[in-house]
Amino acid sequence: MSARSIRISGTALGILGLLGVVALHWMVFFWVPTESSMGIVQRIFYVHVPSAWVAFMAFGIVAITGAMYLWLGDDRLDQAGVAAAEGGMVFTTIVLITGPLWGKIAWGTYWTWEPRLTLTLLLWFIYLGYFLVRRSTDNPQQGKKFAAVVGVVGAADIPLIHISVSWLRSLHPDPVVLKPEGPTLDSAMLITLMVGLLTFTLLFLGLFLIRFSAESLDRKLQLREVAGQPQEA
């Protein structure tokens, strides 16, 4: 794929994602029925769950591109890793904001040591380490390798962290879609959630591709500066 086609597909996916976000919010505010036990506050679910899905998917991309970067040493893999990590950190932050907002009304507290909450907070810190370690090396090649190591070890450890923090009884609502007996969600709610998941995935992929091509332009520019060539616009 050429740099130009990556930029175009990134922009197209981003625009589709943005249109989807508008449509999703219309559905959340005007179309989907109100959940009977939690009331109006449950509507944050359609933003919260898709953000969490994207946050963990992005971390998967960070780990896979990190492992492949260490193995193959192709700079594009590192560009993909950093683009996914930035998107992932944004969506992890959205999860950490929407979760407590809902929790304050549903549980009566902004924060509780609930497993999924704790895991997301730890994920946020792993992302933070990923960026800190990249930026604090004098040799950028080393920073890329260090970040990849953080991504790979983080991904390997996340299942163990998840088991350990889930060990205490969970307060979090049980899954309503992915369970053996099939979804128990009202069909309008399920459709809204699916639109949310699709929209956030498109938006993330759009941002990911745009960020990826920006990163590769930036690196080309740096190479030219090092080589002392005149910069082109």
Partner: protein
């Protein structure tokens, strides 16, 4: 030189340096004792039962002391340029990691024994008949702890942020050690049957395995120029 010979060369070198300078041991040991002393004033043991909070206090002291000592694993090498010497020597890079890990583990084990003895005195803990089980739990937890810290101290020592980056990188990953280690230690201290901690032992073993594997596989990418 065989693989084990290479590992032994590193362990021997690190422990000899430590034995002669006693820098890291002195820092870790005084830290551990002083933390115990500060905890004595920070916690009112007439309100809470010592055996209920001791395991958390002991584990956090072990982790912080380990952070202090293990964080300086590669400090000497980086300062004197000895790291490039090591990298140019015909030693396998994973053997270098295993050697560093073993030397660190011995250091942390000595400090852990000290912490147990001192905290038992400070908080009047009775380890009872389960002393061996306690040692087993802490030794197993320390494998995972030291493995992760050794790998990431190689990372942090090569960054501008240095040792201050180590907790940011390592602490989120150490959650399983704290959860299962503290829980198993509390159960043993309050005299629960040993069968109750079998699950904890399995999880600590899984974490130890993960941390050693991660170190052995990824260490080369951290130190290679």
């Amino acid at each position: 030189m065989t693989y084990l010979g290479q590992v032994w060369a590193i362990v021997h070198k690190d422990l000899t340096i430590e034995f002669r300078t006693k820098e890291r041991f002195a820092a870790m040991a005084s830290f551990a004792v002083l933390v115990g002393l500060l905890f004595h004033y920070a916690l009112d043991v007439t309100v809470v039962r010592p055996q209920d909070i001791a395991s958390g206090v002991i584990w956090m002291t072990v982790i912080f002391s380990a952070l202090l000592g293990v964080g300086r694993t590669f400090y000497l090498e980086e300062e004197d340029g000895a790291m490039s010497g090591l990298l140019h020597s015909p030693i396998a890079l994973d053997a270098l990691f295993v050697g560093k890990f073993i030397a660190n583990y011995i250091l942390v084990a000595m400090i852990t024994v000290l912490i147990f003895v001192v905290f038992a005195g400070f908080f009047r803990l009775n380890f009872g008949g389960h002393f061996v089980a306690l040692i087993g739990i802490v030794s197993l937890g320390a494998v995972g702890l030291v493995g992760i810290l050794t790998l990431f101290s190689a990372v942090s020592s090569r960054t501008r942020m240095g040792e201050s980056l180590l907790p940011v990188l390592a602490f989120p990953l150490l959650v399983p050690v704290v959860v299962y280690g503290v829980d198993a230690t509390t159960r043993i201290l309050v005299g629960r049957p040993l069968s109750e901690v079998a699950g904890n032992v399995r999880m600590l073993a899984a974490f130890a395995l993960l941390s050693i594997m991660a170190g052995v596989v990824l260490f080369r990418f951290v130190v290679e120029e």
